[in-house]
C-alpha cells in the first residue's frame, strides 16, 4: 500500500514537473513574441521615420492618383401611368485642386519646329503670354526642341478660354483654400459648358488642376402638384418629406468612384467603379385626377379661402390612393418660398432671418404646416360623415334592420345631458326610418343606435374599421387619431361617437374605412406606391393590394350604398350630385374641439358608382370661409365635390346611371371578387338628367 502510494506520488511529481517545464517554455516563447512585436514596431517606426516623406510623396503626389466621386442618380417618381413627377437634372461644378494648382510642377513638352514656326505636339500654344516657357534644348535638332511648361499656366488657359475666368479670380479663391484638395470654383454649370470643356480638353491634352464634377439636382416638373404627397429632396438629394423621405432607401443610389493612378511603368490607368442609380417608384397617383382636384381646390380657395382644404381620392377596390391634395400648396422646386395663408411671406422671412430661437420655432412650425400631408397628419372630429359607420355597426350587431322606425324629438337625453339634433329648433324630425335617419343626418337616431350596443362592442367595431390605429400608408408621420378606450367609454361617449364626436380621425382613416363599407366589407391598406423598378423599367418589387380584414357583410354594404345614394339624390348631400351619375355621399359639419372659438370642420364623403364603387372621394375643409358663426355650412365642400366629380368621372370612364335606381345590368358586385380594373367604354357625357338638376 505504502509502496503504491509512493509510486503514485512520484508520478504526480513527475507530471507536475513536466507541466512546469512546458509552462516555462510558453513564458519564454511569450517573451520572444513580445520582443518580436517590439522589433516589428521599431521597424515600422524606422520606415516612417526614414522613408516616411518619400513614401508619402509617392502616395499623395498630385499626379500619381486622383479620386473623384461619381454621383448616383436618385430614382424617379412616376404617376400611375408613367408620367414623371420627380426627376433629376444634370448640372456641373467646376472643381479646382488648390494644392496641385499651387505646387504645380513643370514638365517637358516636345515641340516641333516647322518652317521657322513652333508647333506644339502637346496642347500648349507657346505664343500665349502667360505660358512661361523656358527652352531647355535650343539646338533645334531634327526640328524638335523641348519646352518647360507649368501646369498652372495650362490650368489657367483652360479656365480662361472655357470659363472666362482671369488669373486674379482663381488666385483669390485658391489662396483662401490653399491647403485643400477640393474647392468649387463655379457651381451650377449646364451641359453646354461641359461639352465645350470636354472638347477643349480632348484637343489640348495635359494634366490640369481642375475638373468638372457631374451632379444631379432634383426637379419636379409640375412644381406644386401633389406637393404634400411627393415631398421634396434637399440640395444633397436626401428626401425630406412625403414619399421622397419614406422611400429614401429605395430612391438613393450608391455613388461610384473614379480612380486614376500611375502604374509601375508610369502609364496612367483609370479604374471606374460605376455608380448604382436609385430605384424608380411608380405611385398610384393619377396625374389627371390629382390636377383636376388641385384645380378645383384652388378655384374654391381663391374665392372663399379656408385654413386648409384637403381631398383624397381612393380606389375602394384595392386601397390605391388616386389623388391626395391639399390647400395651401407649395412649390416643390422652391419649398422655402412660403406660400401658406397663415402668415405673410415677409413675416416668415423675418423669422428665418432672426436668430431668436422662439422666432425660429415659429418659422419652423409655419413651414411644417405648409409641407405637411394634411390627409394623414391632421386629426379632427369627423362629425356627421361618421354616421354611416354607426349605421353599419348597428346593422352588423343586429340591433337594427332596414325599415326600422325611430322617433326624433329634436334632442336625446343621455346620462342627463341633452344632445340636440340639427333640426331641434323646428321640433325634430318626428318619426323616421333608419334610412331617413342617415340621409337626414339625425343625431337622436344615431344615439339610439349606439345605446342598443355596449360601449365595448362599439369600440371593437371602431377598431375593426381602423380608427385609433395608423393605416400604415407609405408616408412618414402618419397620426393614429384618438379613440376613447372601450373599457373607459361611457354611454355618453358612445352617444357622441355615434355622430362623429369625441373621436379623432385622420382623413386617410376615414377614406379607408369608408371604402371598406362600400366595397362589400373589404378593408384594404391604403397605399401610394404600386411598383418599384430600376432605371431600365425592370420590376424590382410589386406592391399589390393588401386585404387587411372584413369589416361588414356584402348585404350591409349594399344597403349602406343605397342609403348613401339616397342621401345624394334626395338628402342633405344633394348638392354634391352630378346629373346622371349614381353617386352616394354623406356630409358632415363639426365644430372644432375648442367649442368657444366657433370654428368648424366641414366634410363630404362619397363613392361612385353606388352599385360598384370605383372611386371614393373625400373632402375636408378646415375653417371654411365665413363659417365662424354658430352654424357651420358644408356648402363649400358640397360644391367642391360636385365640381370634382364633374371632371373626374368622365375621365375615369365611369358609367352614367339611369335615374330609376336600377343598376347597370353588367356591373353587379360579386361577393369575394378580387379587385380588377375593368375597362369601361367611353361614357356619353351629353345625357343630362333633369331630375338631378333640381337642388
Amino acid at each position: 500500500m505504502k509502496k503504491h502510494k509512493k509510486r503514485y506520488k512520484d508520478r504526480m511529481v513527475n507530471a507536475r514537473a513536466m507541466r512546469r517545464e512546458a509552462n516555462r517554455g510558453l513564458r519564454i516563447a511569450l517573451l520572444i513574441f513580445g520582443f518580436s512585436f517590439l522589433g516589428l514596431i521599431a521597424y515600422v517606426v524606422y520606415i516612417n521615420h526614414v522613408h516616411g516623406f518619400e513614401y508619402s510623396e509617392k502616395v499623395s503626389s498630385s499626379d500619381a492618383k486622383t479620386t473623384s466621386n461619381i454621383s448616383a442618380q436618385r430614382g424617379k417618381i412616376l404617376d400611375t401611368n408613367g408620367a414623371i413627377l420627380a426627376y433629376n437634372q444634370v448640372y456641373y461644378n467646376l472643381i479646382i485642386d488648390p494644392v496641385m494648382y499651387t505646387n504645380h510642377g513643370s514638365e517637358l513638352l516636345k515641340l516641333t519646329y516647322v518652317d521657322g514656326k513652333e508647333t506644339a505636339v502637346s496642347d500648349v500654344s507657346a505664343n500665349d503670354n502667360h505660358v512661361a516657357g523656358q527652352r531647355v534644348n535650343d539646338e533645334k535638332k531634327d526640328n524638335v526642341y523641348y519646352l518647360f511648361v507649368t501646369k498652372r499656366s495650362r490650368t489657367l488657359e483652360v479656365l480662361n478660354k472655357v470659363f472666362g475666368l482671369s488669373e486674379n479670380d482663381v488666385n483669390a479663391k485658391v489662396e483662401a483654400n490653399s491647403n485643400r484638395r477640393y474647392c468649387k470654383l463655379i457651381e451650377n454649370l449646364d451641359s453646354d459648358v461641359n461639352e465645350k470643356y470636354t472638347k477643349f480638353i480632348e484637343e489640348n491634352k495635359g494634366s490640369i488642376a481642375i475638373s468638372l464634377e457631374k451632379n444631379y439636382s432634383r426637379k419636379y416638373p409640375y412644381s406644386s402638384l401633389a406637393c404634400g404627397v411627393l415631398g421634396f429632396a434637399n440640395k444633397n438629394n436626401v428626401g425630406q418629406t412625403g414619399l421622397e423621405a419614406y422611400y429614401e432607401d429605395e430612391l438613393t443610389g450608391v455613388d461610384g468612384t473614379s480612380y486614376t493612378y500611375v502604374s509601375g511603368v508610369s502609364e496612367s490607368e483609370n479604374v471606374v467603379k460605376m455608380p448604382k442609380d436609385g430605384l424608380d417608384i411608380v405611385t398610384t397617383i393619377d396625374y389627371k385626377i390629382q390636377s383636376i382636384i388641385e384645380d378645383k381646390i384652388k378655384k374654391l380657395n381663391d374665392e372663399r379661402p379656408s385654413k386648409c382644404t384637403s381631398v383624397v381620392a381612393m380606389n375602394p377596390k384595392n386601397g390605391e390612393i388616386l389623388a391626395l391634395a391639399s390647400y395651401p400648396s407649395f412649390d416643390l422646386n422652391n419649398p422655402f418660398v412660403y406660400t401658406g395663408n397663415e402668415y405673410s411671406a415677409e413675416e416668415v422671412e423675418a423669422w428665418n432671418a432672426s436668430n431668436d430661437s422662439e422666432e425660429n420655432a415659429k418659422a419652423i412650425s409655419a413651414y411644417s404646416y405648409l409641407w405637411a400631408t394634411h390627409g394623414i397628419v391632421d386629426m379632427y372630429e369627423p362629425g356627421s360623415t361618421f354616421k354611416p359607420f354607426t349605421v353599419v355597426e348597428a346593422l352588423e350587431a343586429g340591433v337594427t334592420h332596414d325599415g326600422d322606425t325611430f322617433y326624433c324629438s329634436g334632442y336625446e337625453t343621455v346620462q342627463g345631458v341633452d344632445i340636440g339634433c340639427h333640426v331641434r329648433a323646428e321640433g325634430g324630425h318626428g318619426t323616421l326610418t333608419l334610412e331617413d335617419g342617415l340621409i337626414q343626418s339625425c343625431n337622436p337616431v344615431m344615439i339610439q343606435l349606439a345605446n342598443r350596443m355596449t360601449p365595448t362592442a362599439l369600440y371593437n367595431f371602431q377598431i375593426m374599421l381602423g380608427f385609433g390605429t395608423r393605416t400604415g400608408i407609405d408616408l412618414p408621420n402618419e397620426r393614429k387619431g384618438f379613440l376613447q378606450d372601450g373599457s373607459t367609454m361611457t354611454i355618453l361617449d358612445a352617444a357622441c361617437n355615434s355622430f362623429g364626436q369625441n373621436i379623432n380621425v385622420t382623413q386617410i382613416q376615414m377614406a379607408a374605412a369608408f371604402s371598406s363599407i362600400v366595397n362589400g366589407g373589404k378593408y384594404y391598406k391604403p397605399h401610394l406606391v404600386k411598383r418599384i423598378q430600376d432605371s431600365q423599367g425592370q420590376v424590382v418589387k410589386d406592391i399589390s393590394a393588401e386585404l387587411v380584414r372584413q369589416t361588414c357583410t356584402e348585404e350591409t354594404s349594399q344597403l349602406i350604398r343605397s342609403y348613401l345614394r339616397e342621401g345624394v339624390d334626395t338628402g342633405l348631400a344633394r348638392k354634391s350630385g352630378v346629373a346622371g351619375y349614381a353617386i352616394g355621399g354623406k356630409t358632415g359639419t363639426a365644430q372644432k374641439a375648442n367649442r368657444d372659438e366657433l370654428k368648424w370642420v366641414v366634410s363630404v364623403i362619397g363613392c361612385v358608382p353606388t352599385n360598384d364603387p370605383q372611386l371614393v372621394l373625400y373632402t375636408v375643409i378646415d375653417e371654411p370661409y365665413e363659417t365662424t358663426g354658430t352654424d357651420g355650412s358644408s356648402l363649400d365642400a358640397l360644391y367642391l365635390m360636385h365640381d370634382m366629380y364633374e371632371e373626374i368621372l368622365p375621365y375615369m370612364n365611369i358609367y352614367k346611371d339611369n335615374d330609376d335606381g336600377s343598376t347597370s345590368p353588367d356591373s353587379g358586385v360579386v361577393e369575394g371578387s378580387v379587385p380588377i380594373s375593368v375597362e369601361f367604354p367611353q361614357a356619353s357625357n351629353n345625357v343630362v338628367n333633369e331630375n338631378n338638376e333640381n337642388n
Binding site: 512546458a22 510558453l26 511569450l30 520606415i47 516612417n48
Partner: protein, 388 residues
Amino acid sequence: MGRKKKVSNSLFATELKNRHPDFMLVICTIILVFFGTIMAYSAGASDFNSVGAEKSYFIKQFVFMIAGFIAMYIGYKFINCRGFYGKLSVIIFLATLVTMFMIIPFGKEVNGAKRWIAIANFQFQPVELFKIGVILGSAYYYKRLRSKMDKFLFYFVIPLAMAGVIALIIFFTSSNLSSALIAAFIVLFMGYVAARKRLIYNIGIIAAGLAVTIGKPIMGLLPLDGFRGGRIAAWINPELYKSKESYQSLNGLYAIGSGGFFGKGLGNGSQKYIIPEAQNDMIFTVLCEELGLFGMIMLLLVFFVLLYRIVTIAYMSDDFYEIMVCSGVIGHIAFQLILNIAVATMILPNTGVSLPFISYGGTALLATMAELGLVLSVSARETGDTDT
C-alpha cells in the same frame, strides 16, 4: 489518494469551475474581431468589381463574427477540452486531413489558386480547419509520449518529420506555401514547449532570428531567377520589379510609410485602391496608412495581452493535453501575425498570409475563434490532475 479530485474526462461537461470565461481573453477577442469587421468595411471600398462591396464585405465578416462568437460560447460552455484526448484527436486530425485532399477533386479556383471547397452557397478553406486538426493531433502526440520528451528522437526528430509531412500535404493539395509554413511551425512550436531539452530549438530560434535580420543583404549577393526566385529577387530589389512582382509589396510599403503617427483616419487611406488584396493579406498596410503607428501599436498590444492570457490559462491547467492545445493556439496566432507583418513590411518575401481576426475571410475567422473557444473551455473547467 484522498487528494485526487474527481475529474470529468468526457467531452461534454457543463459543470464549470468559474462562472465566467476568462474576461480579458474575451475582451481582447471582441476588440480584435470588431476592429477586423470595420477594417473589412474600409478596405472593401477598394473592390471595384462590385458596387457597395464594402457593405457586403462588412456583412459577410459580421455574420462570420457572430458564428465565431457562437463557436466560442459552445467551446466555453459545453466542451471539455481534455475530452478530445485520445482517439477523438486522431479522428479529427484525419477528418480534416481528408477535407484537405478533397480540394483536389472538388476544389474551386479563386485567383488562380485552388484553395476552396464550395458546398451549395457556402465555401470554405479546408486548410483553416486542418490547422485545428494539426493542433489537436500534435497535442495528442505530445501528451501520449510525454514521458519520452527528453529523448531527441521524440521531441525533435519525429515532430520535425511530422511538420515536414504536414507542410508537404498542404503545399501539394492547395499550393499554399504560407499555410504549410504555419502548420509546420505550429507542430514545432508545440514540440518546443513539450520538450524537456530545448537546445536544438534554441539554436533554431537564433538561426531564424539571424536569417531574418541579415538574410536580406546576403541574399542580395546571390543570383536568383525562376518564379519563386523572381519573387525573392523582387523582395531584394523591389524598385526593379515595381510594376509586377513587387507591385503589391512596394505599394503596401508606401502605405505604411505614409501613415505617420496617427494615420490619415479610418477610411481615408488611398493606397488600398491600388494594393491588390488590400482587404486580405495586405490589410496591415491599410491599417498603418489609416490609423498610423498608433493603431499598429494598439493592435499589437491587444494581441500581446491575448497571448499572455492564453499562456496564463495554460499555466492554470492541470492537464498536459490542455497545455499543448493552448500552445498550439498561441503558436498559430503569434506566428501568423508576425509573418503577416513581416511580409507587409518586406522583412520577408511575399507569401499570402492573412492577419488573424483582422483580415477579410470567413473560415479563418471562424476557425481562429473556435480555437479560442477551446482555450476558454480550459479556463472555465474544473481542474484536476489527469496526467497520472
